[in-house]
């Protein structure tokens, strides 16, 4: 796995349960999980093995999230990497029963390890496709650091609604 490029996933979460939960899920996974509270502690690791995607826990406050994304953006190997916002669904006892993943291409819920990897893999694939395609000259560019985590869902909703209005 080490020789592959972009074969890691960077997780930024201040929640120990989330970090531990994902470490367990990623055991034997196609990607190596690099988990941290903030990107400073994992600079060396991500330079050695750039991540395919960055997972950011939505439990961060909006202001914290912006600082975090700005900090990630200062790291050359992370600049422009797809970001997926991650929410752990916990029961009354604090046990994690599932995950919600929100990216540019929509939202996915996963309650099993397989579903989690299917969602992450799909988001990585779609993100790669997005950047690889020829951009039209008047591409509208917005700064992801300023967006709400649900922006992908909102965009999808508008696109579906206005596509239907064509019919």
């Amino acid at each position: 796995m080490r020789e592959g490029k972009d074969r890691s996933v960077l997780l930024i979460s201040a929640d120990l349960d989330v970090r531990d939960g994902l470490k367990e899920i990623f055991l034997g996974a196609p990607w190596l999980l690099v988990a941290a509270v903030n990107p400073n502690g994992v600079m060396e690791k991500v330079r050695e093995m750039p991540p395919a995607v960055i997972l950011i826990d939505t439990s961060f406050y909006e202001e914290e999230r912006r600082h975090l994304l700005a900090a990630l953006n200062q790291i050359d190997v992370l600049r422009g990497k797809p970001v997926v916002f991650l929410t752990a669904e916990k029961d009354r006892d604090g046990r994690i029963g599932g995950w919600v993943l929100k990216g540019l291409n929509g939202e996915a819920k996963a309650s099993t390890r397989e579903a989690f990897f299917a969602s992450v893999g799909q988001m990585i694939a779609l993100s790669g496709k997005e950047t690889a395609k020829d951009a039209p000259p008047s591409q509208e560019v917005v700064d992801g650091r300023l967006l709400h985590p649900d922006f992908g869902k909102f965009k999808k909703y508008l696109m579906e609604r206005f596509a239907r209005s064509d019919a």
Partner: protein, 52 residues
């Protein structure tokens, strides 16, 4: 849409939503159609980047 666009970080959607609302108030169908087209184009060409 006018209110939600800004909340999600899409100021352009707020602008388009506002224009549609104003056009609807005076029954300007053509303007509504144009703004709706502008929204579709914006959404299709939207690219989110994580860099300054």
């Amino acid at each position: 849409m006018k209110g939600s666009g800004g909340g999600y970080g899409f100021d352009r959607i707020t602008d388009i939503g506002r224009a549609i609302e104003e056009a609807a108030k005076i029954g300007h169908r053509e303007e509504i159609h144009e703004q709706t087209e502008a929204l579709k184009i914006y959404l299709e060409r939207l690219e989110v980047v994580y860099q300054g």
